[in-house]
Symmetry: C2
Subunit: 363 residues, 2 copies
C-alpha cells in the first residue's frame, strides 16, 4: 500500500509511503539509511527480545527513552533536545537526515514533534509498536507535547516521510499488557468504522469470535485508508473536515482526564456517549443504534459510566481546555446519523454537561 | 502593498497581508481583533513612550518579555509557554485567535515559534520595532529558538497572517542605540540588493549622503518585495532556491558567534568575505567589485577583519553546527557573479577555512 498526498508539507521532499509487512526490514549498519539516521526508541521494548535489540544496535546513532505521557512533558523537553542535537551534530547529520521513531503513541508524538522543529524540519520515519500507533496516531501528521499536565497543548502538522508497520512488533504473547494494548486500539477502530460505513459493514458482518489482535490485523489496511480519505481532504485542519475524526473524543477526553483511563477505553466510552446522545436527539435511529451496540458488545467494548460520576465543575473545567472549543462557551461535537454519516454541530458547553448528567457520567 | 502566497501554510485561513504605514493603526479595546488576541511585547519599548504604553494597554490579554537572544533560550521556554497558555485559556482564546508580536527580531522569532506550535498553530500578527525585523526577519516564515547557546537550532516555517510596519516605531531620535539598529539592517539591505540587481542600481545611483534611516525607509518596500520574489518560489526550503538568501551569512555566522558582533555587522563582514572570495575565484569581475565596494563604503559598511583572527579549530567547530552544512564535510556557499546574479556552490569546509586564512579572518 502506498499513500501519497502531495499537498502535505514535510521536511524532505521524499515520497510519503506506508509499508505493512510481517517483519522489520532486514538491514545492515552500513546502509545509507542507518548511517544517516538517529533512532529514538522505547527502551523497554528490548527486554527479553534479543533480536529487536540487535536490530536497534544496527543504528550507529540512537537514543533510548522511557515511553509514556511524561516523555511528552515540555518541562523535560529541553534536556532531551540537548542530547538529541548533540548526537545529531556529532554524527554529522544534516537537514536531509532522518529521525526514526520506534515505539508507541507517546514516542511517535515526541519524535514527530522533534523532527518538525529540528533545524526547521528533518525527515521522519515512524515504526509503531502498538496497535493504536499503527492504526491511528502514525497517520495524519500528529505531533504533540504536554504542558503542565494538559495533554497535547503544543504540536504541529508534520506527516512522516515513511511509516513501517511490522506485524511481529504488534502481535505478541497474550499477556495482560498486550490485551490492554489491543483493547486500546479498538476504540479508534470502531470510531473510524462508524465514520466510514463500509468498514463498519465489514466488521459487523465478519465472524464475531475473533480476538482483538486478529480483528485489528485484518482491518488495519482498510482502517488506515479510511483515515487518509478524511485527512487528505484537509491536511492542516483549515476547513474543519478532519474534526469528524473527533467522534467519541470530545467527551472521551473528559473521561480520560478525570478517571485516568487508557485512551482507547476512554474513546470507547466517548463513542457510547455520542451514540446515546445521537439516539436521544433522534439523529440516530433505533435499529442502527442496536446494530452498533451489538457489534461493540461482541468485542466487550460497550462502556457504561462507573459508579462515581464526574462533578459538574470538574467536567466544565476539563471541557474548557479542549482544543476544539470555540471561544469560551461553545464546542464542536460529532454526532452520528448512521454508520458512514457523522456530522459536526456547534453546541454550548452546558448542553453537553446536561447530557452528561442524563447519562449519569456527571453529577 | 499586499503580498499573498496561497501555497503557504498558516494556522488560520486569513489572507496574508503586509501594511506599511506612518503610525500604528488607531484602535479601541473593544475591537474584535483586540479581544481575540494575546499581545506579546518587548517590555523596554514603553520606557518614555506613554502613547505606545497606552496602545499596548488596549489589549486585555498581554505578556511583556525582555527582548534579546536569551528570550529564545529553550531552557527558559517551558516557563514562558506555561504563562502564555494560562492567559490564552483564561481569556477564552481558541485556535482562530491571534498571537501578536510587538518587538524586534528576537521577539518575532519567539512569538512566531510559539504561534506555530500552540494548539498546532494559531494566527500570527507581527509588528516589527527594529529595521532588521521590518526589512527581513518578519518576512518568509522565520521562527526560532536557541539550544544551549547555539542559535536557531529549532524552528518551523510559519508565515505571519499579517505584518504591520509603522514608521513611527522605526525612526526615533538619533541615539547611539538607534544608530546601531539601523546599521544592523544595512547588512540585510545590501545583501538583498546584491541578489536583486534592480535594487542595487536604485541604491548605487541614489544620492550618497542619505542617513541609514532615510535609506532604509526609502528602500523598504522594494527590499521586502525582492525577498518575497525568492521566498515564494520555495516557501519551505524544499528546493534550495531560498539558500541564495544566505549570501554573506555562512561566514557571517562564524564571525557573529566568535566576536559576538551584532547580526547586521556580521552579515556585512560576511558579504565582504563573499565578495572578495568571488573576486579571487574570478567569478566576480573587478569593475563590479569596485562599484559594490564604493556603494558599501559610502554607508561606512565595508568591514575588514579585526586584529585578532579566529583560531582555525574554533572556526571549523562553528562551521560544523551550521544548518546549511551537507553531512560533516561540505556546505553550500553563495558566490556573486554580479549584482543580481548570486549562485550556490557546494564546497568542502577546509576550502572556506583556507580562504579565511587568506583574507586574514582565520589564523
Amino acid at each position: 500500500m502506498t499513500k501519497k498526498s502531495d499537498k502535505v508539507r514535510r521536511g524532505s521532499p521524499s515520497i510519503k509511503s506506508i509499508h505493512i509487512c510481517s517483519r522489520l526490514p532486514a538491514s545492515t549498519s552500513r546502509s545509507d539509511f542507518h548511517r544517516r539516521s538517529l533512532l529514538i526508541y522505547d527502551r523497554r521494548l528490548t527486554e527479553g527480545r534479543p533480536k529487536l535489540r540487535a536490530w536497534i544496535q544496527l543504528f550507529p546513532l540512537r537514543y533510548g527513552v522511557d515511553a509514556g505521557e511524561q516523555l511528552k512533558d515540555l518541562a523535560r523537553y529541553p534536556l532531551h533536545i540537548q542530547k538529541i542535537l548533540s548526537k545529531w551534530n556529532r554524527g554529522g547529520l544534516d537537514r536531509n537526515s532522518h529521525l526514526v521513531a520506534l515505539g508507541g503513541g507517546s514516542v511517535g508524538d515526541f519524535v514527530a514533534f522533534t523532527a518538525s522543529i529540528l533545524m526547521r524540519g528533518v525527515a521522519l520515519t515512524l515504526i509503531p509498536t502498538t496497535w493504536l500507533a499503527a492504526l491511528d496516531s502514525s497517520h495524519g501528521g500528529k505531533t504533540a507535547l504536554n504542558v503542565g499536565g494538559m495533554k497535547n497543548q503544543l504540536g504541529t502538522f508534520y506527516p512522516a516521510s515513511k511509516v513501517i508497520i511490522a506485524k511481529e512488533l504488534l502481535i505478541r504473547s497474550a499477556t495482560k499488557l498486550q490485551f490492554d494494548h489491543s483493547q486500546d486500539a479498538l476504540g479508534e477502530l470502531f470510531k473510524i468504522s462508524l465514520i466510514d460505513g463500509d468498514l463498519f459493514e465489514h466488521i459487523a458482518r465478519g465472524p464475531s469470535l475473533r480476538s482483538s489482535d486478529e480483528l485489528l490485523w485484518l482491518t488495519l489496511k482498510r482502517a488506515i485508508e479510511a483515515k487518509y480519505r478524511i485527512v487528505d481532504q484537509d491536511p492542516f485542519e483549515l476547513r474543519g473536515v478532519r474534526q469528524i475524526l473527533n467522534l467519541g473524543h470530545t467527551f472521551g477526553h473528559v473521561i480520560e482526564a478525570h478517571y485516568g483511563w487508557q485512551h482507547g477505553r476512554s474513546v470507547g466510552a466517548g463513542l457510547v456517549f455520542a451514540l446515546k446522545w445521537s439516539l436521544h436527539r433522534k439523529i440516530l435511529k433505533n435499529p442502527d443504534f442496536n446494530r452498533i451496540e451489538t457489534m461493540m458488545r461482541q468485542h466487550e467494548f460497550w462502556i457504561e459510566p462507573p459508579q462515581r460520576p464526574i462533578p459538574q465543575g470538574k467536567a466544565l473545567k476539563l471541557i474548557t481546555v479542549d482544543k476544539k472549543k470555540i471561544g469560551s462557551r461553545r464546542l464542536r461535537f460529532v454526532f452520528l446519523k448512521k454508520p458512514g454519516a457523522a456530522f459536526i454541530k456547534e453546541i454550548p458547553f452546558d448542553e453537553m454537561i446536561r447530557e452528561g448528567v442524563r447519562q449519569r457520567w456527571i453529577r
